[in-house]
Point group: C2
Chain length 208, copies 2
DNA sequence: TGAAAAATCACAGAAAACTGTGATTTCGTG
DNA sequence: CACGAAATCACAGTTTTCTGTGATTTTTCA
């Protein structure tokens, strides 16, 4: 397994390099203090895995991830950082990071994580994984917090699909005035003033 | 750590129970073939962790998760299943599962996962974790596949927030006709016919 | 610096959406 | 069965949105 390390702290970079390169099966083929020339470095060295800090001068880790993933989506990137706030975390995940470890992770776990990511896993520190999963949780909950009726949901759904009042009336076999009434009630229940706002709210809060 | 097992296969249930209960620090306080009376069982036994199969007769694991999490959100639930398709996976996560292991997981890893979930982690089989992370990936990509200009994105954003043409014209210090023109171009680029449809597409595809 | 892209404005008619007010019918449940 | 919630319809007036057509100015970039 060929590894590159990006880490601005010189001593830490050396320690990591020693630890990893000194373990059988792992080979550190490069280490750098920031992502300024990451494209060239990756292209030249062709690593399997990149161990990536976030907070680095000049070009930070998140930009680094974007650059690498744009050209080499198969190279795995393991974030290694002190940040455990949601903003940084999800920015990394969106950029395409394949794993996310906090720096307090013990060396043994770090080596395991490298192995894991190399073989198709997605290692995360415990709290991080929990945070990621919890983004899925509420998706279902509070499903009907606005008290929409069955018919109202049906009509709101059609509205989100671009149906006009007339088209809805045809689809539901009711008069346009009835559609109008339903939508009026929907707008009141959602506390919005027009169709576009209702659609936005419906999709954002997954009401449909 | 007090554990309940839900698993319809009698022999597997016995094996799991023996394995886990026979390990120091783990205590299996109940095992059942389905989730029919899960609320009562959980209330009576007060487990720390539930090991949950999905495909069970009468009341399946996903419904089980929903029932437990509705009343006891702090009890951790580790899914243990042969299914590795996205539908089942995300259904479980939305229901509130805290971890997801495939049945091919070796016993040692299963015990580790129980420990992990108990201490606030979210253990997942390698491929599963990868699948979960990849849902975040594309969120950024194809950002501008419709070729919207800066101004167009700005106006589309306002539209999704419920601004009328008039309000947009005020906000952007341009005439209503210009707003009209911009939106006309936006609708063309997005291949939609009206504002609501554009808003729906913009939010669904995260253009704004 | 010259062509293309982006942003701006104008006018006008047609279509659609929104609001107010009021009423009837259907349906499920205590 | 009675009651309330849900669903239905009607009418009318106002506002907003959409479409067609055409044009000018500003910016960007090869």
């Amino acid at each position: 397994m060929k590894i590159i390390i990006y880490e601005d702290d010189y001593k830490l970079r050396q320690s990591l390099s020693l630890l990893i390169d000194g373990t059988k099966g792992y080979s550190v083929i490069g280490d750098f203090p920031n992502c300024e020339n990451i494209e060239k470095e990756v292209k030249t060295l062709q690593p399997d895995v990149i161990l990536m800090d976030i907070d680095m001068p000049v070009v930070n880790g998140i930009e680094g991830v974007e650059k690498v993933k744009a050209h080499f989506p198969d190279i795995k990137i393991l974030m290694h950082t002190v940040f455990d706030d949601n903003d940084k975390l999800f920015a990394c995940l969106k950029a395409g990071a394949d794993g996310y470890l906090l720096k307090k992770t013990p060396p043994v776990k770090l080596l395991e994580a490298l192995q894991d990511i190399y073989t198709g896993g997605a290692p995360m520190s415990p709290g991080i994984a929990r945070r990621v999963l919890s983004t899925f949780h509420q998706l279902n909950s509070a499903k009907n917090k606005y008290g929409l009726t069955k018919r109202e949901k049906e009509i709101l759904l059609l509205l989100t699909e671009g149906y006009t009042y007339k088209a809805i009336s045809a689809e539901c076999h009711i008069s346009m005035d009835t559609v109008s009434t339903h939508l009026r009630n929907i707008y009141n229940k959602l506390h919005v003033n027009c169709g576009t706002e209702a659609v936005a709210k419906a999709i954002r809060e997954r009401l449909v």
